[in-house]
């Protein structure tokens, strides 16, 4: 029950944080010069004061600031994030359409990076001066140094011209026909390269972290105790040591989640992945503020949820973390 209390508290904080994010976004956008009316007028090739006023009334821009804010917030409660004038669609519909593609990319890349990174780290820690350990160190330096778009473009070059086994753009092949399973495979096929590109940066980070954390834990007295009990070395590594070494990796993975989302924006652009990143780019270029704010809101929402999940995971891993 202590756990449930903590979760309830975290959810509460999360909600407050979301409201703060919403207000902050709203304020930032409103103090930026120009408003929707200017943009629309610009698109129309100029408009006189009368038309401008009419547009402002239509979008509620003639109301005092706090009324606008209140309207926006009460809309959000009903999942109404406003109307995109650029796409001429409700923002919520627009985002929900693109969200699954981004979530798929972001979560698969993050999970891949955490799992493979941790395994590499564990294997490297087994022989701190062995070749694999050196590889991990090298890989992490490389991962830190290489920008995402560069890795992505290299992969594209590699897979377009040398091994054309993975598609390098889009999410589905419209010529593929078949049931759900076939379609899903097609999506996975398209997902491979963007996922690897996005995972690569974080994989480097997590493997280095897991290696360091494992090296520390492997020197602990309880590891010696496990060996003294006759526990096989593999179990010593993956049960006794890894469970203790996982904390830092999970913590950092949680903190890095927002960075993974930012990385996804670039990766989506490189691989034409039809997700929120692509939508964000389009709406920024079009100065489509309701959509930009909606995307910011949704990504904050996902980050907050992931933080709560991280907290729960840490508690499951280590019983010493007390509620509160």
């Amino acid at each position: 029950m202590g756990v449930w209390n903590t979760i309830a508290k975290r959810v509460g904080y999360g909600l407050l944080l979301l409201v703060a994010v919403l207000i902050l976004n709203f304020v930032l956008i409103s103090i930026a010069p120009g408003d929707i009316a200017d943009t629309i007028a610009g698109d129309m090739g100029g408009a006189d004061a009368e038309v401008m006023a009419e547009i402002r009334t239509r979008y509620g821009l003639d109301q005092p600031f706090y009324v606008q804010l209140w309207r926006y917030l009460s809309g959000v409660v009903m999942f109404d994030l406003g109307h995109s004038y650029f796409f001429n669609t409700p923002v919520t519909t627009l985002i929900l359409e693109k969200l699954p593609a981004t979530l798929l990319l972001v979560f698969s890349a993050q999970i891949l990076a955490v799992i493979v990174g941790t395994l590499l780290g564990v294997m490297a820690a087994k022989k701190p001066n062995g070749p694999l350990s050196l590889t991990v160190t090298f890989l992490s330096l490389f991962g830190f140094a290489a920008p995402v778009f560069w890795t992505g473009i290299l992969l594209i070059i590699l897979f377009v011209s040398i091994f054309p086994v993975f598609p390098v753009a889009g999410m589905v092949d419209v010529t593929v026909e078949g049931g759900f399973f076939v379609q899903a495979l097609d999506v996975l096929h398209h997902l491979t390269l963007p996922m690897i590109t996005l995972a690569s940066i974080f994989l480097a980070l997590y493997s280095r972290l897991a290696r360091a954390s494992m090296l520390e834990v492997l020197g602990a007295d309880y590891v010696r105790t496990a060996r003294a009990k006759g526990v096989p070395e593999r179990v010593v590594l993956y049960k006794h040591a890894l469970r203790n070494a996982l904390g830092p990796v999970v913590t950092v993975a949680g903190l890095q989640f927002s960075a993974v989302i930012s990385g996804a924006v670039v990766v989506e652009a490189v691989f034409s992945w039809p997700g929120l990143g692509t939508l964000a780019l389009q709406s920024i270029l079009a100065r489509d503020t309701p959509t930009i704010m909606g995307i910011l809101f949704f990504s904050s929402f996902v980050v907050i949820i992931v933080n709560i999940l991280t907290d729960i995971a840490l508690r499951l891993i280590d019983p010493r973390i007390k509620s509160g």
Partner: protein, 332 residues
Amino acid sequence: MAEDPLLSVKDIVVDFKTRYGNARVLDHVTLDVNSGEILGIVGESGCGKSMTALSIMGLVPNPPGKVTSGSIKIDGMELVGMDVDRLRQIRGKDIGMIFQEPMTSLNPVFTVGEQIAESVRLHENARPKAAMDRAVEMLAAVEIPEAETRAKAYPHQLSGGMRQRVMIAMALACRPKVLIADEPTTALDATVQAQIFDLLQDLQEETGTAIILITHDMGAIAELADTVAVMYAGRVVEKGTVDAVLSAPQHPYTKGLITCVPHLEPDPPVERHELMEIPGVVPALTELGKGCAFAPRCGEAIEKCSGEKPRLLATGDAHVTACWVAQQERAQ
């Protein structure tokens, strides 16, 4: 001795590669433990007590350490150079070990019951339920109240004394032939220390497990042990029955250790060279000369002491000492 000892450690040499050169951490250590007996090992910090224990367990950290030569036999079975998988089956099954630091020797993320049960599952192929039952039984045997509830506790929820009891329960869960207790009470309060020693003695009487008791506590040796080995700078310098060694210590180092403990004064008292405390410090193992390692600190040293290392030779019934002076006196 008619029958073969249960555990026999013979001429074990352990070397550590260090930045300052090779450190001979154990230098021809020889020890025997008979079944049902308690062997005490005493000596100053750094003299190689823990390393002796770890070499028996096959757990000398490698690298940098290495068992260079020697033999360790349990029930006639050679452990040095044994295949790791076979050795693993002996660890925790035939030889149990408890460590100096109860606060950190238990894994913080598993319940204590699970940690004891794991041993039983591993060595006796027990089903999880049966293994857990044994764990609870063992917790009760080490006098932990409400064993059933405590089995579900995590280490951080228990006191230091409780944790050491858990360690003892874990080490004894598979009814080992030998239990190595490496300074089991050093980290605990005085009252808890006495309880743990009592517990070890009771368990020893009940189960007949042989115990190697490593300690700084000469009083505990006098009370519990049958035989005692005194170590200095990686060597056994004196060894024999507790009665013989404590009542008539031969090595100046042993005399020093005993006079450090007021109520253990031998009878008749050995002459006191100014000491209630042994002057000087243990020399660095990388800098040992060719003579007796204790010579620089020894009040009785003669010329021979710094020239050649003394070997362990009989200086009484069931009593051997590695000291030129003691051996000379004996010869006269």
